[in-house]
């Protein structure tokens, strides 16, 4: 069963979709979407995944952070700590709706980084699935700036601004325009200080890392994140799936392998004990 839901969050309201299994609920999951236009490009894959997991006995809540998607609020007024709180708020809501005390998180790209942090700060989350997480925020932001400049070169024949100008604006407290989103100095700071490897020693306890690419080896930093988690005593699995980076594509794609592999991992985790996770 699928239904639209509204989640009270202080003076804002988060908008979401709840997917409940027809039969027994084996586990629950809150999905954490990426930001900017990656949210748009990945939307349908996240919906497909939610439906597949729900059909497999896992109740799923997809939702929009404050100032994003259908939720209330202005994007420029919010940043990573607020969105981490949104995840906790969504989890509380889901607990109330489904009666599931123990929930997992699944995030994509920046949503995965937020999920990682939310799970790190709240041990009640049982498992964390990270689809192609942003491990180093600074590198991610540099990549986004390069992309913006290339897009301008394609559109105008030259970039209208330089990377240095954009960074200076942010340093001076001026928001910059990233594909129609106002990135504030606060958001810039919060994104560029993301360092999951550094945080992994006190990171979540049961983690699935998923590398998504049409070809090529697992990036070194993803392996390093796994090692850092293991060193911290966590259970960390790292898998690859040969699929397109759907969060970056203009058209619609399906990712059956990614969804099936993730479903398999959740099944294994839940069937090992026959009990809710973390028991």
């Amino acid at each position: 069963m699928e239904q639209s839901v509204l989640i009270p969050r202080g003076r804002e309201t988060l908008s979401g979709m709840l997917y409940q299994p027809d039969g027994e609920i084996r586990c629950g999951m809150v999905m954490c979407a990426p930001l900017f236009e990656e949210r748009k490009s990945s939307h349908r894959v996240m919906v497909d995944a939610a439906r597949t997991f729900a059909a497999n006995g896992c109740a799923v809540l997809r939702f929009d952070y404050c100032g994003c998607g259908d939720s209330t609020g202005d994007f420029k007024n919010y940043s990573c700590p607020d969105w981490r709180e949104d995840i906790t708020c969504a989890a509380r809501f889901m607990n109330g709706q489904t009666g599931m005390n123990r929930l997992g998180l699944l995030g994509l790209r920046l949503g995965a980084s937020l999920a990682f942090e939310a799970a790190r700060m709240n041990e009640s989350f049982d498992f964390t699935v990270l689809w192609e997480p942003i491990i180093h925020g600074r590198r991610y932001f540099d990549y986004e700036l390069r992309r913006k400049l290339i897009r301008e070169m394609v559109t105008f024949g030259q970039s209208r601004v330089t990377r240095e100008t954009l960074l200076k604006d942010l340093k001076d407290g001026q928001p910059i325009d990233l594909d129609g989103y106002a990135v504030t100095s606060r958001l810039f700071h919060d994104i560029t200080t993301i360092d999951l490897i550094k945080a992994a020693a006190q990171g979540p306890r049961k983690v699935l890392l998923v590398h998504i690419a049409p070809s090529g080896a697992v990036p070194r930093e993803l392996s390093a994140l796994k090692e850092a988690g293991l060193d911290g005593g966590a259970h960390v699995d790292l898998i690859s799936t040969e699929e397109d980076p759907f969060w970056n594509l203009v058209g619609l794609v399906e990712c059956p392998s990614l969804i099936e592999k993730t479903k398999g991992w959740i099944n294994l985790l839940t069937s090992n004990t026959g009990q809710p996770l973390n028991t």
Partner: protein, 273 residues
């Protein structure tokens, strides 16, 4: 006030959001129609921003996902412009009985504009069309679609150039040059059925008695053909048309200033309705 709704078409649920103004505020009922691979948010959430602005003007707004898109039921591959027109009509069937006195405006972007034209051609309830980056249809199509597809392909390859793996492939001659050339340079051929459908809807548009707003970006490769095509169409059918170009803007208005201009222009036009 904003609240989620759903309605069904052929047994499949379509999900959306209704934006309601303060009670007793008069204004049109605006139904948003998203692009081919988009959702009810519109690019960079501009449908949400537009709907919230229009609600302050007294408009009732509905943003919904077509079947096979966004949160809605149905499969991705089954969606077509025809199915989207049926969805748009079903949206009116769902919401209009609650607001029978309100004039209906369809606000669309990109491929959603084809849906709006198709719905307006066949549904007398439609009283206005606000079209953002409308694509050329039927006989208007020439090389413009090819230009945009090539640009999309160039963007994709531009992004790939940022990846280490791409450079590895280039240096080891593992890039399929033929395929890249084909993607960037090949002519997109529209299906004959698609073109004849579009031609039919354009011909049926003489039934439409409302007004049309068109907003284009000057950096959208389709603007020239589209602007000329819709101008000629409105002139031939006697449809009052207002046209604006946003200097520098691309197809989906990916910039805060461009988005603001599109919203201001649409707001002003809507108030004049």
């Amino acid at each position: 006030m904003e609240y989620p709704i759903h309605f069904k078409v052929n047994g499949q649920a379509l999900y959306g959001i209704v934006h309601e103004p303060e009670p007793d505020r008069a204004g049109p009922l605006v139904v948003f129609l998203h692009g081919w691979a988009g959702s009810r948010l519109g690019p960079h959430r501009m449908f949400v921003h537009m709907a919230r602005r229009l609600t302050t003007r007294g408009c009732v707004c509905l943003r919904f996902d077509f079947r096979g898109r966004g949160d809605s039921g149905g499969t991705t591959t089954d969606a077509s412009i025809r199915s989207m027109i049926a969805d748009a009509t079903a949206a009116l069937d769902f919401l209009l009985p609650q607001y029978p006195e309100r004039q209906v405006i369809l606000l669309a972007i990109c491929s959603g504009c084809k849906v709006a034209i198709g719905a307006a051609a066949t549904d007398a309830r439609v009283g206005g069309l606000a079209l953002w980056s409308p694509e050329p249809m039927g006989p208007m199509r020439n090389t413009s679609s090819k230009n945009r597809k090539s640009l999309d392909a160039m963007r994709t390859y531009g992004r790939k150039l940022l990846r280490l793996e791409t450079w590895r492939k280039l240096l080891t001659f593992r890039v399929n040059v033929k395929m890249v050339k084909k993607a960037v340079g090949a002519r997109e051929v529209a299906g004959q059925g698609e073109i004849s459908d579009e031609t039919l809807w354009l011909n049926q548009l003489h039934n439409f008695k409302g007004r049309m707003l068109c907003i284009h970006g000057t950096n959208d490769p389709e603007t020239a053909a589209s602007k000329a095509g819709y101008k000629s169409l409105c002139s031939r059918l006697g449809i009052p048309q207002e046209v604006h170009e946003i200097t520098g803007a691309n197809h989906s208005f990916y910039g805060l200033d461009w988005e603001r201009k599109v919203i201001d222009l649409t707001d002003t036009w809507m108030v004049s309705m």
